[in-house]
């Protein structure tokens, strides 16, 4: 059973002016294999910092993380990452991008060809595999990024606002695709978003972070991701409970934002 466990992570760093920032404080989490968790919070609450720590790009000042009972100390192929944008390699074709992970492991084309072609089928880019990535639209590029991550067969997929730069329609289609991939591959996924609807749709578990210092404010267990696998996402959104939860979380985040604004106003006064 592969489990990602985060134990009392804190992140604190000094600023040039002598003060310091407490970005995260005492975050503890246990994420089981195959779980889909979305993370939500007002801007500046440390969502991306948390994800970067889990990915291994940043070292926490306190606390430890383990995946499958070994310590996380840096980036590794076991934790794949999907970025908002700009992470594809423009000098490679779609196929070369998707096969990047296997190729870096030294696999021959015969070993990865079938899997890569299969993934390109799933994300609907079969006809585009020889294209340059800069010829694709934003939504297609994110599908390449998803396929590239999956081709490497990571234990955990970390998504940092992967759909944030897409237009509303493309975004909805992509949300369906993420759910489909989650169900088909059974991967553990942590998804960061600033859209409440997206967090509700793409989270069995939904974590709301509070800012200053970044900490876990509330955690939900939601049925919508499972519902979304079977039916149209727009139908899920019409569900009365979906609306309730959305309003509840929106006002929660709204209050946090107000508090930040108030503090800022006091500080400047």
């Amino acid at each position: 059973m592969s489990t990602l466990s985060i134990d009392k992570i804190s992140m604190r760093f000094d600023l040039p002016n002598g003060s310091h920032v407490q970005a995260l404080k005492d975050i503890s989490l246990e994420i089981k294999t195959g779980e889909l968790m979305s993370v939500l919070g007002p801007s500046g609450c440390g969502k991306t910092t948390l994800l970067n720590i889990v990915a291994g790009f940043l070292a926490p000042t306190q606390g430890t993380m383990t995946l499958n009972n070994h310590l996380i100390t840096g980036p590794d192929a076991e934790r794949g990452m999907v970025f908002q944008q700009g992470a594809l390699f423009e000098w490679m074709s779609v196929r070369e991008n998707v096969s990047f992970g296997p190729r870096m492991k030294g696999q021959r084309e015969a070993e990865w060809r079938d899997n890569v072609d299969h993934l390109l089928d799933i994300v609907g880019l079969r006809d585009f595999k020889e294209k340059s990535v800069f010829e694709l639209s934003g939504g297609m590029q994110q599908r390449v990024a998803l396929a590239r991550c999956l081709a490497n067969d990571p234990d955990v997929i970390l998504m940092d606002e992967p759909l944030g730069a897409l237009d509303a329609l493309t975004r909805e289609k992509m949300q369906g695709l993420v759910l489909k991939l989650w169900k088909e591959t059974g991967k553990t996924i942590i998804l960061i978003t600033h859209s409440v609807e997206e967090a509700l749709l793409l989270g069995e578990r939904l974590l709301v972070l509070a800012p200053r210092p970044g900490r876990i404010h509330r955690e939900y267990r939601l049925p919508f991701a499972d519902m979304g696998v079977g039916q149209d996402l727009r139908e899920v959104k019409k569900h009365p409970e979906f609306g309730e939860k959305r309003e509840e979380i929106l006002s929660m985040i709204w209050d946090m934002e107000e508090e930040i604004m108030g503090n800022a106003a006091e500080a400047s006064a």
């Binding site: 840096g74 980036p75 192929a77 992470a87 594809l88 423009e90 992970g101 800069f134 970390l158």
Partner: protein
């Protein structure tokens, strides 16, 4: 001044002619940009007018031809007077009596040496004179050498062709102007016209014939192609050496704190030093042979390439690096598959700049001291006032520099098609 006015009026006339004449008659392509109504201020809507380019180049050659008396130019600026002319001076003897005499002036082309025309002395105390002068030059005529009344005895010229004249004044005659010097001698300047003399600016056909001559017979012991080839060879070797050292240096500076700290002061100091300022030192160290030239060009290219490579590394989007690492790439693989390809556009831009600087530097270095090369060719030619070789050299240097830039741009387009696409 007149040339500037002419040039400006051709510019304006060409504009109106093309705008309201040619373009009206021609069917213009209705592409997207042509449908833009806001073009003033929209740089992307400004495309070079090919008509203007053609007229511009033709105008330069036309003006060049017209003002050098070229056989190829259909029109010419007024030419200097060549041939024989006469003018009459009136000499007043000390006793107040006057007599007329004629000066026959033979105006010849610069560089020719014709005999003076034969004239009869004529009657009276003023005798006829004959003189020769180059076109546009001034000749002082000591007219009284053969006259019976001398200036030192008080005789003086009072009129030229019937026009009264005194010391310091000047009057014009049919083919030029005449003045009296302080001592009363006649100074004649035949009309110089408005054309440049070949020593200042030779006509285009002379430059072309010189080009033919030097490309077959050579100059200063070397064929034209050898001169140009040596210059190009130095540029390419110097640039390649600079790139071979500079690119890894730039990468190291972009990837390691220690390298960045160590080389930053050196690179930042050397960058603003123009390579031309290094020429004396390089000559002291390595002499004027190939080694010195190549060291100089190496130094010229080195810093540019190092800075370009460093900028290429720092231009890598951090998410690409993160993505590569979390896909399992090693440091070497990151270098090979992400950092190098991502920095290629910057390196190509740097290479274009470096090639341009190297080409300029090699010509300058050859101007200072060299046994062969494009710069040496024009420098030596200028010492012998062979302006046609100088002009031909400048044109060839320009064409080659432009050619290098075009080749680099083509290479860039084919090798880094993703430039500006991330």
């Amino acid at each position: 001044m007149i040339i500037l006015l002419l040039y400006t009026s051709i510019f304006i006339a060409g504009f109106f002619l093309v705008r309201f004449g040619v373009k009206r008659l021609m069917q213009t392509r209705a592409d997207f940009t042509s449908l833009k109504t806001v073009t003033f201020g929209d740089e992307s809507a400004v495309r070079p007018d090919r008509w203007a380019s053609v007229i511009s180049v033709v105008t330069i050659f036309l003006l060049w031809g017209a003002f050098t008396g070229s056989k190829w130019a259909p029109i010419h600026a007024p030419a200097p007077f060549i041939g024989d002319t006469e003018l009459t001076y009136t000499l007043e003897a000390p006793d107040g009596s006057t007599d007329d005499a004629t000066i026959t002036l033979r105006v010849h082309k610069f560089g020719e040496d014709p005999a003076a025309p034969e004239v009869e002395l004529g009657t009276g105390f003023a005798k006829n004179d004959a003189e020769i002068v180059s076109a546009g030059r001034t000749k002082t005529v000591l007219f009284d050498k053969n006259d019976d009344a001398k200036r030192r005895d008080g005789a003086k010229v009072v009129a030229i062709d019937g026009q009264p004249i005194t010391i310091g004044q000047s009057v014009s005659f049919a083919e030029g102007s005449v003045s009296l010097t302080d001592k009363g001698a006649i100074q004649i300047t035949p009309s110089g016209g408005m054309q440049m003399e070949p020593i200042w600016l030779p006509p285009p056909e002379k430059v072309v014939s010189r080009f033919m001559e030097i490309s077959t017979e050579g100059y200063q012991g070397f064929n034209l192609w050898e001169h140009l080839g040596y210059s190009l060879f130095r540029v390419i070797v110097g640039f390649l050496l600079g790139a071979i050292v500079g690119i890894p240096l730039g990468y190291a500076m972009g990837l390691s704190n220690w390298f960045r700290g160590w080389f930053d002061p050196i690179v930042e100091f050397m960058r603003p030093v123009p390579p031309l300022a290094l020429i004396p030192l390089v000559i002291i160290w390595a002499g004027i042979g190939e080694v010195g030239k190549i060291i100089l060009l190496f130094l010229a290219a080195l810093w540019i390439m190092a800075i370009a490579a460093r900028a290429g590394v720092s231009g890598v989007n951090i998410t690409k690096v993160h993505a590569a690492y979390s896909l399992g790439a090693s440091k070497f693989q990151l270098m090979r598959h992400v950092i190098v390809p991502n920095s290629l556009p910057e390196i190509f831009t740097g290479a274009r700049v470096a090639m341009g600087v190297c080409w300029g530097t090699v010509v300058a270095a050859e101007l200072v001291a060299a046994e062969k090369g494009a710069g040496m060719m024009i420098m030596v030619a200028s010492r012998f006032q062979l302006t046609d070789i100088v002009i031909m050299g400048i044109i060839l240097i320009g064409i080659i520099g432009y050619g290098i830039d075009i080749l680099m741009r083509i290479a860039e387009k084919t090798l880094v098609p993703w430039k500006g696409r991330s």
